[in-house]
Symmetry: C2
Subunit: 303 residues, 2 copies
């Protein structure tokens, strides 16, 4: 079993590649829930959903949401004078209703999201990092903001001065997360933002220790392609965390955790073996190649 830690787009693409080359049932994704938000009374899990839509081959080409979705509910809210700043397509909202209905009847977030995964016909597991609420907050010169507010309303405008994961200190990894990490044959940290996508996962007490204690090698894939991120405000967050820019910063973010690192450039001072390869995943074929090379690399690493 391959265990993949993932945030949004980059991690989701690698999840898709791993499912392709290893088989859907062989993949367990541990997904960031620090971006989760309650809006319009429903529980939205942006990263777990993005990963699930990718695995279902239903991701829209805009990079989020469900392909060909419509916007009737948001339009009705706006027509009624309720600004729908957090845009959810109708089919996307339907999946949020599936999750919310399960939560209202007392289900854990893990089981509630499993209903979404099942509804989308996905054969892999997509596990929220925790059943407890963790909420990423961002401080800029304008003050503290919820993560979605920073990303959508403030258009992720930095500089980012500080990031907090509210609730993380009191959160517990789900039993499924700990079991998946302990049982994994390989643990991959996906090419997601090290601070705000992988950071919340590692901030849940017990997950970092589970990576260190795992029998499987831990390999991270850099989110930097030719020195730049493909999508999202990664650099502002790395600067805010005092990390060097680019690939060396991503490696530094995981210091002490890695048995191997996958990047498209050499990393001075890296304390683990490097697989240097093109990590751009701009299609099904490169996604499969990066996945296969990463898994082969991990298989050759000892612990």
């Amino acid at each position: 079993v391959i265990c993949l830690l993932a945030g949004g787009t980059g991690g989701a693409k690698l999840a898709r590649g791993i499912a392709d080359v290893a088989g859907a049932e062989e993949l367990t994704v541990i997904a960031n829930t620090g971006d989760d938000v309650e809006v319009y009374g429903v529980h939205v899990s942006p990263d777990p959903d993005l990963i699930t839509y990718w695995l279902a081959d239903r991701i829209d080409e805009r990079g989020w949401g469900i392909e060909g979705d419509t916007w009737h509910v948001m339009d009705a809210l706006e027509a009624a004078g309720r600004p729908a700043w957090f845009r959810l397509g109708d089919a996307d909202l339907a999946m949020c209703l599936v999750r919310t209905e399960a939560l209202r009847r007392g289900a854990r977030l893990t089981d509630a999201h499993a209903e979404v995964v099942h509804a989308m016909g996905v054969g892999s597991r997509v596990l929220p990092m925790s059943d407890d609420p963790v909420r990423t907050r961002v401080r800029t010169p304008r003050g503290w903001s919820d993560f979605q507010e920073f990303m959508i309303v403030q258009r992720s405008e930095g500089p980012v001065e500080e990031v907090q994961f509210d609730g993380a200190a009191e959160a517990h990894p789900s039993p499924e997360v700990l079991e998946a990490l302990a049982a994994a044959d390989a643990i991959v940290i996906g090419p997601s933002n090290p601070i705000i996508s992988i950071g919340p996962i590692l901030a849940v007490p017990g997950i970092r220790e589970a990576l260190v204690d795992a029998r499987a090698p831990v390999v991270a894939v850099s989110p930097f392609v030719r020195g730049e991120v493909v999508k999202g405000p990664t650099e502002a967050f790395m600067a805010g965390a005092g990390l060097p820019p680019g690939t060396p910063g991503a490696a530094a973010a995981y210091e002490g955790l890695l048995d191997g690192f996958v990047a498209d450039e050499r990393v001075p001072g890296l304390d683990a073996p490097l697989l240097q390869t093109d990590v751009l995943m701009d299609g099904a074929e490169p996604r499969r190649r990066v996945a296969q090379e990463t898994l082969d690399f991990a298989a050759g690493l000892g612990r």
Copy 2:
């Protein structure tokens, strides 16, 4: 101020007529919430919404929901293998989200529904009978069912052996309901099902007493038109409650409460003055006529 007790269609049509002849701001509706249901994680209030859509001139010609609504969210649920037995149009769902979001942030149902009323641009007040949950349940030879299950899944097939209003005994009328009844110039019991539409309202301890103590005359409008109900399974419920069929049964249901009764036939043994007039409201003009005649009738009654 006119205070109208109402369930679904009949009461909603009279609400529309009263708003037309007396002015929207002069109308306060006290609405049945015994049909409320949590489905897809959202709080649906069928009767308060039906009334609100009528008052907003947005009711669909099918008799419920919002005119010209679309069904993308329900279709997405069904495509994902989640049977959407309770069909909510996209715009209808948007109004449920407005209410649910308010409830999740701790608002009372009264204030949550007021947001829907405001979002629909309605100038009248539509008050849930209580902020506490009351749920109508129906017993047939098949056993006990929730109200919506009886109406939709079982297609309201009787015989109805018993009706219960779960939670009613512990429920309180909202302060707004008690104030509206105390301040009203006329109190009208709308032409809704006496057992399952008006019954839950009167089952909330304090509301019946507030009607008795009110300074305004209380007038009921019969839901029977030429001996038959226009819509819904009223007769099965009246038989189940041991009431005579037709108009006399409706009068009997409100025994001891009425200062006047409006019906299209004479009612033997009626203990209050009768206004005999056509109560069919099959258009804007007859809705206004029934409303005006009922208000004129109430104005001439003493207490």
